[in-house]
Amino acid sequence: MKNLLISILAFFILALLALGIGLNHSLAYVLIVIVPYAAFAILLTGFVYRIIKWGSAPVPFRIPSTCGQGKSLPWIKTNPVENPSGAWGVIGRMAQEIFLFRSLFRNTDVAIVDERPVYGSAKWLWFCGLLFHWSFAIIVLRHLRFFVEPIAPWIGALSALDGFFEIGIPTLYLSDAAILVGLTFLFLRRVVVPQVRYISLFTDYFSLLLIAGVVTTGLLTRHFFPADLNAAKTLAMGWVTFSPVVPQGISLVFYMHLCFVFVLLVWFPASKLMHAGGIFLSPTRNLASNNRGKRHVNPWNAPVKVHTYEEYEDEFRDKMKASGLPVEKE
């Protein structure tokens, strides 16, 4: 509970700071010209650093968790994805994990009913998790339209598809609605479910709140305090071409949006959000279960003290002979 309160407090302080920066035009230069590059640099170097740090540790043993029939006799039907025996299976398994959250889809819950545990389907976490991550990805991709000129056709198509139902003016993007649903579920679940609240740390709440801050200010900018799209594009193109200028007529909410985004970029590599990179490296998922067929080499495999047969026979020779068991030395 304490972690929750501190996270909410931290978020509000951050929001107030963002508000202050937005109101204080003398800080606009810093926010527009210096902070974006610094934040992006931190994101990139931080991300790469974390991946290298994980990746530099060796994988001494091949330890996949197998979730289907393994490859053995030719007439036994195998599950080449859940229990891969080669590279293609691993690629399929990882793709399922990364794009579809395969393992989370297995989720069940348990309750003691009539003095026995009953397992129920519990797909909401999977569904809302997937909703959140996919809409987040779509939103990030849609934003590329500010950063490239001319706008690549696929970005336009993605935006058009995302706004397919043409609800309201400007059109409400489905991904915007979806991410709100996803975020709300993930946050409420953390707060409401006693077990999840019990295990939650500051970083768990704060990461959600921070992303919610980005999303909310983004939506406000689009639907309630419309920003000058040309000014936004000029701003973004200024960054991309390394000639940033402070545009005129940028709203307070938009400044807050930028503040939250920059904080997120910095927070990302330093926090739990790095699971986005870590998932690729998980040895229980990204290795084939072909250990008996293909030897895995441990780079630090070292000799150990063993009890040799000679030592064994020396101790038990008389007993072995008495039992009529063959021995090496009489």
């Binding site: 994988v59 091949r62 348990v110 870590g278």
Partner: protein, 534 residues
């Protein structure tokens, strides 16, 4: 087996899943009798050259730790973070989504939040953050970090010896975080300061010296196998050979020592003997490598290697072509995922080929060790065995997938194929409790001792209740498995939760049904129980 000291089932099943009022970092461990295992005896640590041998018990106030124990643990942690990507990654990548929480049989059976895999891992992660991450060093508890104190060490001991390394959580984790891996690291660290349990360390010491966990000496093994041959002769009229330490055999057979030692494992072992006799296999047991299981797995990677080394060494000494392994759970985790890496390459052996069917076991071409159910399923498939499943008509069977063959190999269909060919009454348990989702016996990873009985009965409860369901629905009276620890521990578990259900290995089932050349008319099964319907 006595359940006198633990609550009755109707009391034990009253489980509350609500976490306590105090935060987990402020809730200290209560070493309640029945929920922990006795410490490793000094003589066993000494025999294995393990640090800090002494007389102590977990319930003692003073654990007699070395003065610099914190430095030892932190240095050990640093070393392991550099040696294992799994450890480093699993310390960082968890998002605490909680999907693993109610997948752990110990959590389902106890409601203790520190039995949620995520929190069991946080016990270690909190210390990792405090000493190995910038945020943890700077922000302490706000970053989920805490100091390494004696209380923390005691908590590690309690909960890392309350995890059976079954890997069920890793199946459900979106990042594949494997609590078994974290528990293994935690136990390695505890071992650095001499904190381990006797039920693990004594079998390991025995195995190092005598070749098997139970400390059976060469003559004892021979006697036990000869006794079984007597029993087989009594049931079938056929005298089977018991080849031991035989040079020039084609195949070295290695099985867990639980199979020679006590019922119902011995019936499974009789099954192997009858099968090998019937097909005329040129094989041998070994007294030096008389253990398939490996309690090193519950100690440290180094100990796994020290104990496992005997199998290849013995195969080389005896000059066999390849190795066949009996029914066992964690043994097969070691054989499948560690043996080739640790003690290979086994280039002095040949690629396994069944001498009876000519089938080449390509999946084992590097490690050169074949699982007995792969071997037997292939025999049946090729029509090499004459089977009379009616002889198992008194058995109404369900099948428990043992954790390691399930989640570290994916060995699901081989045992089921044998069951279907040898038994007319087979009923699966509920889908959420079998195959990769199988529930642990609650007593693996060295926890199958009597002093730990309450934890065992709690941890095994989900498995037992799944059995109870098929008992009520299909009158099931027998629980099949392919694991020696299961055969021992599920027996107690059934006695407590589902009285009337007995436990058997798949090769006992096979041997009941196996029509042997020249046998007398069978009137009983291997246990001496009368046959029906024949």
């Amino acid at each position: 087996m006595s359940f006198a000291k633990i609550p009755k089932p109707d009391q034990l099943i009253k489980i509350r899943y609500a976490p306590p009022e105090t935060a987990w970092m402020d809730t200290s461990v209560d070493f309640r009798p029945g929920t922990w295992s006795y410490s490793g005896a000094a003589k066993n640590l000494t025999y294995l050259d393990l640090p800090n041998p002494r007389a102590w018990q977990p319930a003692d106030e003073d654990w007699k730790l070395p003065d610099n124990w914190q430095a030892i643990i932190l240095e050990g942690m640093k070393e392991r973070l550099e040696k294992y990507r799994s450890f480093r990654l699993f310390m960082d990548v968890c998002v605490r989504c909680g999907a693993c929480a109610d997948k752990c049989h110990f959590y389902i059976g106890s409601g203790d939040p520190k039995n949620m895999p995520v929190l069991r891992a946080e016990l270690l992660r909190s210390v990792y953050r405090r000493y190995f991450t910038t945020s943890g060093k700077r922000f302490g508890r706000l970053a989920g970090a805490r100091d390494l104190t004696v209380d923390v060490l005691k908590e590690w001991f309690y909960y890392f010896y309350q995890c059976t390394e079954c890997r069920r959580c890793s199946v459900f984790c979106p990042f594949g975080i494997d609590q078994a891996e974290i528990t293994m690291m935690g136990r390695e660290l505890l071992n650095l300061v001499g904190c381990n349990i006797n039920w693990v360390i004594e079998p390991a010491a025995n195995c190092f010296r005598t070749g098997n966990h139970l400390g059976i000496q060469p003559g004892g093994i021979k006697d036990m196998l000869e006794f079984m041959a007597d029993d087989i002769e009594d049931r079938t009229g056929i005298r089977v050979n018991v080849p031991i330490n035989k040079k020039g055999a084609d195949i070295l057979f290695v099985t867990p020592s639980g199979d020679y030692f006590a019922d119902p494992g011995t019936f499974t072992c009789m099954g192997y003997l009858m099968l090998f006799h019937e097909i005329g296999l040129n094989y041998t047991f070994s007294t030096y490598a008389s253990e398939g299981g490996n309690f090193g797995l519950f100690t440290s990677a180094e100990m796994v290697k020290r104990l496992n080394a005997k199998i290849y060494a013995e195969a080389k000494r005896l000059g066999v072509k390849w190795i066949l392994g009996g029914e066992c759970g964690h043994m097969w985790r070691v054989i499948h995922q560690y043996m080739g890496t640790m003690n290979g390459p086994a280039d002095f052996l040949q690629e396994p080929v069944s001498p009876i069917t000519g089938t080449r076991f390509e999946n084992a071409r590097s490690t050169k060790m074949v699982h007995i159910t792969e071997f037997t399923a292939d025999l049946i498939r090729n029509g090499k065995l004459k089977l009379d499943p009616q002889r198992n008509d008194h058995i109404r069977l369900t099948f428990h997938d043992s954790c390691n063959p399930a989640r570290a190999m994916g060995l699901f269909e081989e045992p089921r194929y044998i069951i279907q060919k040898t038994c007319n009454h087979f009923f699966e348990m509920a889908g959420d409790t079998i195959r990769e989702k199988t529930l642990c016996c609650g007593a693996g990873a060295g926890l199958g001792n009597d002093e730990n009985m309450e934890t065992r009965m709690r941890g095994g409860m989900p498995r037992a209740m799944a059995v109870k369901k098929v008992v009520e629905r299909h009158d099931v009276n027998r629980l099949g498995c392919i694991c020696a620890i299961d055969r021992a521990t599920l027996t107690s578990l059934m006695d407590y939760w589902v009285p009337g259900v007995t436990v058997m290995g798949v090769h006992e089932l096979l041997a009941n049904a196996l029509v042997m050349t020249g046998e007398k008319e069978r009137t009983t099964d291997l246990r001496g129980e009368p046959l029906v319907g024949c």
